[in-house]
């Protein structure tokens, strides 16, 4: 693998979808329209926690132009709690109840009814006239409240899954608990020279994708359903709709639009089944587009957390013990990424003794969705802050300390399996060697470093490669292109067939056209779908050997494929007259397809194992105004083991984007609720994601430790980069101010509170 030299892999061609995107021609979820289109609007609960006493829809139905009004009664309340393949966490009952409340509204913004009308104004007016009588209940807005003995219980039938706390009986808000352990923690702490322990908190944060959820659904008289939507996976959207509505997957065709960001938040369905039901009832197609406020209040952010963690180390820097108690808010239904947090938080270090417990706690906030390395950033914030504390306590360089404890091939991950070839040590060495690490700091600046880990998924993918008569090719897959995967797939076909990238047309296909493919997520597309694409292209090469054998009238095994530019087939033997057969190029063979047996279509499908662990280290310089508490990222460098960068620009873009989101999480992003559990900052003005001018150019260093599971050595790269920034920023804040901050975000007022300038409030 390492010996292979590439023609196209590792180059930076222009993405095929680039021009349409920068000129505004690309079609996103809200761009689609149909004749007779109705506009759908969702009626949402103003209460964070309330029993729904009654819903009256007559007044809404009487509004001129209104064609359908639905409530929870129209969304089947399935008792099935079916897991879907590898996405084991999905619970159909909960998804259905989240789409439209059946008995209780469980968060402010929870859908309780929906209206479709001939105009958006009519739909909005009708929505106001849907009369819902609520019996408000006490909202449960924090982990402390949720686990208090007298806390209101969100779900009367909820029991703790996994390994319940001893003595847990009866209904609870603790939806799940898991433990990870190794060695003897108590003894190890007793023998440690340095023990640091703190409690950390992070706020509920949103992925903040620019494009809101949007879809058009058409339910035909013949029972055939078409859905155009912005989703991370056409097939997962189709299967969710089919399972929730109890209809055959074959009756639903999902056509994914271009997607303006997802980061995990566009894996669930929020609008699509509602639009299908409205369309079915109205007999006309229905369009639904969320406002930004709806996106914040009613799609899936990620968990607010409370984490207590303790590390013990020897004076020489060896970390000998770790103990952690993780509490993650799940939102209104079970399923926070607390387990992933537990599995990730110690994954960077070979620690002989640890005990980690992780709790999944329901609260009256929107149900969390995946968000880029779900669960890892918060727990890693705790770990990497404490590793920084250990380094300070024993007077050791923080990169040296990390290198001393870093995992390498042959070590066991804290969640069990042995690590294959991984690149954490190489990443840390690259960080230490980077000029950033030794650059002088300004007087008001501090520097922090932190590591991060993510698993990277595998899962199922299909690909089809078709050869055109002129020797160009098309590649069709079913993954919506979020991070530049189309051009990467074209590059793989180009590499295998020896034709220029520009002669390969990559397409994202609908669910009728592509073979089944799992979602775009888990950093899996370039790896797993890429594997299918490579094999489909190799399938073409194999067929070209057969076609050449036909032309030469020899056995196929006397013909070899020679990847070159262009790829060509060579005969291993001379012709009967003793002459050397000139090679046949892919272009020549393509022109003879019909004569040699018909079209040439390559296919492949894989269920790929998980893509191999990804590790990163980030260095952050923070400039802190100690009079105002306001801080600015002055310099930032992201270093990551990416396996093999197929298109380095998009790998760098993933690293920069993940860093930007992590910096926002660290500095200013948070859901702010009033005393009644109503979100106060459901918009980009007051939900303060970084804007372009808030960030310096984020420098990137790609470390390539090949992943043996992939023919080119590709690893997942998209999620790891959001893991280190929380602690990298907090460690820089500690360096600049002398104060250890354990609660995010590090907003200006929190910083002045921490510095003792102002009272907490």
């Amino acid at each position: 693998m390492s010996a292979r030299t590439y023609r196209y892999i590792g180059t930076r061609p222009i993405r095929h979808d680039g021009l349409d995107k920068v000129t505004g021609r690309a079609n996103y979820g809200a761009d689609f329209t149909l004749p007779g289109l109705l506009q759908g609007v969702v009626v949402r609960s103003p209460h964070a926690h309330a029993r729904i006493v009654s819903i009256e829809t007559q007044a809404a139905e009487a509004v001129p132009g209104v064609k359908a009004v639905i409530t929870g009664k129209d969304i089947p309340e399935t008792s099935a709690r079916l897991a879907l393949g590898a996405e084991g966490a999905f619970d159909l009952h909960d998804i259905g109840d989240n789409l439209m409340a059946h008995g209780k509204a469980l968060y402010e913004g929870h859908a309780v009814a929906a209206v479709a009308a001939t105009s958006i104004d009519a739909a909005r007016e009708a929505a106001k006239l849907v009369r819902v009588v609520y019996e408000p209940l006490e909202p449960v807005m924090s982990i402390e409240r949720a686990i208090a003995p007298d806390a209101p219980i969100l779900h009367a039938d909820m029991v703790t899954k996994g390994r319940p706390l001893p003595g847990t009986t009866g209904p609870t808000n603790i939806a799940g608990r898991m433990e990870l352990k190794r060695g003897d923690v108590d003894q190890a702490f007793a023998g440690a020279d340095v023990v640091v322990e703190r409690e950390f908190r992070t706020s509920t944060v949103h992925q903040g994708y620019i494009e809101p959820h949007a879809c058009v659904a058409r339910s035909g008289e013949d029972g055939q359903i078409l859905v155009w939507c912005s989703t991370q996976g056409g097939f997962i959207a189709r299967d969710f709709c089919a399972l929730i509505l109890g209809i055959d997957a074959a009756r639903i065709k999902v056509i994914p639009s271009e997607i303006g960001g997802g980061f995990g938040g566009k894996i669930p369905v929020y609008l699509e089944p509602v639009a299908i039901v409205l369309s079915h009832k109205a007999g006309r197609p229905v369009k639904m587009v969320m406002s930004r406020s709806e996106v914040f209040r009613a799609s899936g952010p990620t968990s607010g957390t409370r984490i207590r963690m303790k590390l013990g180390a020897k004076r020489d820097g060896t970390i000998v013990a770790a103990q952690a108690s993780l509490w993650y808010e799940a939102g209104a239904y079970r399923g926070s990424p607390s387990g992933a947090g537990a599995m990730c938080c110690l994954a960077s270090y070979a620690i002989p003794n640890f005990f980690v417990e992780a709790h999944d706690v329901v609260v009256n906030k929107p149900k969390v969705a995946a968000y880029r390395a779900p669960g890892s950033p918060m727990a890693t914030f705790a770990t990497e802050s404490l590793v920084d504390e250990v380094a300070r306590a024993i007077g050791m360089d923080p990169i040296e300390l990390r290198l001393k404890n870093a995992v390498a091939e042959g070590d066991h991950a804290p969640y069990g399996p042995v690590y294959g070839p991984i690149g954490l040590k190489q990443v840390l060495e690259a960080a230490r060697a980077h000029p950033h690490w030794s650059a002088p700091l300004g007087p008001s600046q501090g520097r922090g470093v932190a590591c991060g880990f993510w698993f990277n998924a595998g899962l199922s993918s299909s690909a089809t490669v078709t050869l055109n008569g002129d020797g160009s090719a098309g590649v069709v897959t079913g993954n919506p292109d979020i991070g530049g995967t189309r051009v990467a797939q074209a590059m793989m076909v180009a590499e295998e067939l020896g034709i220029p990238v520009e002669r390969v047309r990559p397409s994202v296909a609908d669910t009728d056209t592509a073979g089944y493919t799992d979602l775009t997520g888990g950093s899996r597309v370039c790896y797993a779908t890429g594997m299918a694409v490579i094999r489909a292209a190799q399938d073409i090469a194999e067929q070209l050997r057969s076609r050449a054998a036909t032309i030469w009238n020899v056995d196929r095994d006397r013909v070899a494929w020679e990847p070159g530019r262009p790829g060509r087939v060579i005969a291993l033997d001379e012709s009967p007259d003793g002459s050397v057969r000139p090679p046949l190029t892919i272009v020549e063979l393509a022109s003879k397809m019909a004569q040699t047996g018909g079209p040439i279509v390559g296919r492949a499908a894989v269920n790929a194992p998980m893509a191999g662990p990804g590790f990163a280290a980030h260095i952050c310089d923070l400039d802190v105004d100690k009079e105002t508490g306001r801080s600015t990222v002055a310099r930032y460098t992201a270093i990551q083991d990416v396996g093999k960068a197929v298109h380095p620009s998009f790998v760098e873009g993933q690293m920069q984007g993940g860093a930007a989101q992590g910096i926002g999480w660290a500095l200013n992003e948070e859901y702010i609720y009033d005393a009644d559990g109503v979100m106060e900052n459901a918009g980009f003005l007051d939900y303060r994601m970084p804007v372009a001018s808030d960030l310096p150019m984020i420098d990137t260093v790609l470390v390539e430790v090949a992943n043996p599971l992939h023919p080119y050595g590709v690893r997942g790269v998209g999620e790891v980069p959001i893991v280190p920034p929380l602690a990298a920023v907090a460690n820089a804040m500690r360096d600049a101010t002398g104060v250890r901050f354990t609660e995010l975000p590090l907003s200006p007022s929190r910083v002045l509170e921490g510095l003792g300038t102002i009272a907490k409030g």
């Binding site: 590898a86 390994r163 997520g521 599971l709």
Partner: protein, 80 residues
């Protein structure tokens, strides 16, 4: 013989046993053998991911298990 390591969540169903040697050539066979040996595990292995010598598989019922493999059973994780 493959050595199977149980997470703390699963060892509550194995009487606290953390590792066990099992003869099995494929993953599905292994999971069935485990359920036979530890009936309380039934229902808790449906959606596990299986790591064989460090490589983590999902839906790997027919994945073959080399002799003397190290097996870990994990909750499935995909990502964002």
């Amino acid at each position: 013989m493959a050595i199977v390591h149980f997470s703390s969540n699963l060892s509550q169903y194995t009487g606290g046993l953390e590792t066990v040697s099992i003869e099995a050539s494929r993953v599905g066979e292994l999971l069935r053998a485990l359920e036979q040996r530890f009936p309380d595990l039934s229902g808790h292995l449906e959606s596990v991911a299986v790591a064989i010598d460090g490589v983590i598989y999902n839906d790997a019922t027919y994945q073959s298990i080399p002799p003397d493999s190290e097996i870990h059973l994990l909750p499935p994780v995909s990502g964002g």
